[in-house]
């Protein structure tokens, strides 16, 4: 094994969090090495407009995603079952390669609500003690502290949207429930289509407050504060699960990586997979990482600061494989690494029209109107038996026909009748998505699998997860509200897709996996402190949605990125001056 020259910082994973962290640390003058286990990817080489709209290649044959043949995870619904490997992706789609999942996201860029960061304190004050098995806790950082960092990320991305609350003043046309903003969005909202117009009308008729979804698809040409140019979105309908060939979707490639790559004090090594974080014998800090390149050569990369910037599942697994912190044990409640795995609780209501055309191929990843009246604690939960909520959104993201060929209730799944129904409804359907929060419970967690191994022979991660009592009550309460909006949208019929039964790891739901390396206020309740610094090794920082103690009713990227900026600021302004714990245990 070759030992490489010492770096000031090593970053593991080069997606959103890795590129933001690399930018902030190189700006502070550090000599930074980023290790990415996938290959180089960029718009002109990998998904130019002449190749990008290829549904089979990128989504169904998983070209955008990590190959399960190299590494996957095992899954079971509960501890009495035997977890089996996810042999192909289904419910969620971890990314790989430069840009990570930031290449194939939709760009739905919501901030969490102020109350989401203090979920335990807030809900207990208002509704009394949480159920004993619910392991929800506060983040340890507040919305007010993160606000400037949300703003930074939204300007980096050129988010298209309409503010609902600027410094406490409610703004007409925005989301009246959102936390305060220091500024308007950098770009106006996207243009809406027929389906959003109908949704807007129907929701207003019910006294709700629809607003245009905050979108990382550009409503107009935009130059971000780093000087990167993005082009107007062309509404091509190949966004989520695809790279944007048009430089219209904010991704690490289009917003920040080219700037990072200009710094002589930065080095990116691709096809370089980190196997473990190395610990100093004194147990207080990391010494660097060990990685293997694509030729099978092992390297040790020593570094003064180590930042985990992989996907949530990878960061948790790397902590477990590196034996940092105590693995969570659901029987005893002891240990923290792998605790509080949460997800997202999804249901939907479809509207089918007879005369009108929805023409869903005219779509974009975050083209939508949203109602937030039933998200978070925006409504009174007294007597409802659950906490948290969901947004109801009418998105028009695509009409990619392998994936989206909607048919009404009662249609057979194949044969002439199915085929006819597909043709009849293909351009005449829209869907309302209910995007619900996921609260942490004692029995939903991540650990290492006892049987199955990756291509290096190391244990796969094991996921033990099922929907909870809170999830069921939440979705039972909010799905009917979506149905009521849908009924008022003037269609021929609606179809309600309720959230029923156990979590199924196969149908695609959402790539919003959270928890496992949770943040909090003391070493007794969390893996990392409020600055995303490991309680165990003071020079180890963990980014990503793994730090969410539980998931809110929103897409996570904006909050993930804001936390990254927040942590980077703590590293550059506090930690580098005096390396050591930033919060005293």
């Amino acid at each position: 094994m070759e030992t490489l020259p010492q770096a000031d910082a090593v970053i593991i994973g080069f997606g959103w969090t890795g590129s933001i962290m690399a930018h902030e640390l190189t700006k502070a003058g550090l000599n930074v090495v980023a290790l990415e286990r996938g290959g180089w990817r960029d718009t002109p080489t990998d998904f130019p407009p002449t190749l990008a709209p290829d549904e089979l290649r990128y989504y169904w044959r998983h070209e955008m995603f990590q190959e399960t043949s190299r590494e996957t995870l095992t899954f079971r619904n509960n501890m009495s079952q035997t977890a089996l490997p996810m042999r192909r992706w289904g419910s969620f789609l971890p990314g790989v390669g430069v840009g990570g999942a930031g290449v194939h996201w939709n760009g739905q860029t919501f901030r969490f609500l102020p109350s989401d960061f203090v979920a335990k304190t807030h809900n207990e004050e208002r509704y009394g003690p949480l159920p004993p098995d619910m392991t929800v806790q506060d983040y340890g950082v507040t919305y007010d502290e993160l606000e400037p960092h949300f703003d930074t990320f939204e300007k980096l991305c050129g988010i298209s949207g309409k503010a609902g609350n600027i410094r406490g003043t409610i703004q007409e046309g925005g989301n009246p429930f959102e936390g305060w903003r220091s500024d308007e969005y950098p770009n106006p909202p996207m243009e809406m289509t027929f389906s959003q117009d109908r949704f807007d009308f129907a929701a207003r008729g019910l006294g709700l407050n629809p607003f245009p979804a905050p979108s990382a698809n550009m409503s107009q040409a935009y130059v971000n504060p780093l000087g990167m140019s993005l082009a107007p979105c062309t509404y091509c309908g190949f966004c989520e699960k695809f790279g944007c060939g048009n430089y219209s979707k904010a991704a690490p490639q289009t917003t920040i990586i080219p700037v990072v790559m200009r710094n002589p004090n930065f080095t990116l090594r691709t096809n370089s997979e980190v196997l473990h974080v190395n610990k100093h014998p004194d147990g207080t800090r990391a010494t660097g990482v060990t990685y293997v390149d694509a030729s099978g050569n092992l390297f040790e990369q020593p570094a003064d600061v180590v930042v985990l910037c992989g996907y949530q599942l990878q960061n948790t697994r790397l902590m477990l494989l590196s034996e940092i912190g105590e693995p969570y044990n659901p029987q005893t409640g002891q240990g923290l690494v792998g605790k509080n795995y949460t997800y997202q609780v999804m249901s939907s209501v479809e509207v089918f029209y007879e005369e009108e055309f929805t023409n869903n191929f005219v779509g974009a990843g975050s083209l939508g109107m949203i109602v937030d009246d039933y998200n978070g604690d925006n409504f009174d939960h007294s007597g409802l038996g659950f906490i948290g909520g969901a947004y109801i959104g009418c998105w028009t993201t695509n009409a990619r026909p392998i994936e989206s060929h909607p048919v009404p209730e009662g249609t057979p799944e194949w044969g002439s009748e199915w085929k006819r129904a597909v043709r009849h409804n293909f351009l005449k359907q829209t869907s309302l998505s209910v995007h619900g929060a996921s609260m942490a419970y004692r029995h939903n967690y991540l650990d290492l699998d006892p049987t199955y191994t990756d291509h290096w022979g190391r244990p796969l991660m094991r996921m033990t997860y099922d929907f909870t009592a809170n999830d069921r009550l939440l979705t039972d309460h909010i799905t009917p509200i979506a149905a009521e909006i849908a009924r008022n949208m003037g269609g021929r019929e609606i179809k309600i897709n309720e959230r029923r039964g156990s979590y199924d790891s196969m149908p695609y739901q959402t790539t919003h996996n959270t928890g496992g390396t949770i943040m909090g206020q003391t070493p007794a309740d969390s893996v990392v402190n409020r600055y995303l610094q490991s309680w165990d090794l003071h020079n180890l920082f963990v980014m990503g949605a793994g730090v969410f103690p539980q998931n809110a009713g929103y897409n996570p990227t904006d909050t993930v990125a804001a936390l990254t900026y927040w942590s980077a600021e703590a590293i550059t302004s506090q930690y580098l001056r005096s390396p050591g714990p930033l919060v005293q245990a």
């Binding site: 290829d54 044959r61 062309t234 048009n246 096809n271 196997l275 694509a294 392998i402 044969g415 199924d504």
Partner: protein, 239 residues
């Protein structure tokens, strides 16, 4: 344990030396040139996997899943058979991107694909098993039965009302249905959706990439001929 594993060298043998790691030093030139992209991707292979009996089965079964009828084209006009044959001959058929290590206990419904067969192997094993079952029970292989009987058998397989020892025919049915839909609706460069018949049928304009002129359609139909990644016939020069 990790150190000994790697120092012993045993784990390294299986690792392909194809894609070497690359280092990109900040401040240096970009790893691409303007105007140059990866070569277009015309499917996986142009090879063939299915034998004659398997071809007959797939031709018959896919035509039941997506029939040709008076409403429009089906799997036959779209040449879903060629699509499936090429896919099975390529990395998809080999299960190359899927995790295919054992052990292989029976899975739960929520655990997804748990066959130890790759997709290509599953086709081979299950088509043979179904044809034998048809021969035993109906004196003919599947492809030679009438359409009503074929429908009935597929329905029974789907409902797990017919099971065959040693062949996961319900899993096979799910995969067959999925790949048939793929072959019907995928870009024609993969061999199915021939002449974009499926896109014409449902009104999907294909790989167009810019709909800014149509955002405010307000519920009116948008009619335009589909375009494949390889263009469309209307773009050919008359000779």
């Amino acid at each position: 344990m990790l150190k000994s594993m790697f120092l012993s060298g045993t784990a390294l043998i299986a690792f392909p030396k194809l894609a070497l790691a690359r280092e990109f030093r900040g401040g240096e030139t970009w790893p691409w040139a303007p105007g140059v992209a990866d070569t277009p991707y015309f499917g996986t292979e142009t090879g063939s996997y299915l034998n004659m009996a398997e071809r007959a089965f797939v031709y018959a079964a896919t035509a039941r899943l997506i029939p040709s009828d008076d409403d429009g084209p089906g799997a036959r006009e779209a040449d879903v058979l060629t699509f499936i044959d090429r896919q099975l001959a390529g990395f998809y058929g080999r299960g190359q991107r899927w995790y295919m290590k054992g052990p292989w206990p029976e899975g739960l419904a929520t655990q997804g694909y748990q066959s130890q067969h790759t997709p290509a192997e599953l086709f081979r094993v299950c088509i043979d098993a179904i044809d034998q079952w048809c021969a035993t029970n109906h004196d003919a292989r599947f492809a030679d039965l009438d359409e009503a009987m074929q429908d009935q058998i597929l329905e029974r397989i789907e409902a797990e009302d017919v099971t065959i020892e040693g062949a996961q025919i319900a899993t096979f049915f799910d995969l067959l249905k999925e790949i048939t839909i793929e072959g019907f609706f995928a870009d024609p460069i993969y061999g199915g959706n021939r002449d974009m018949v499926a896109w014409h049928y449902v009104g999907f304009p294909g790989a167009r990439y810019d709909y800014r002129d149509f955002i405010h359609h307000d519920g009116a139909p948008i009619t335009m001929p589909p375009v494949s990644l390889a263009g469309r016939p209307g773009w050919n020069v008359d000779r």
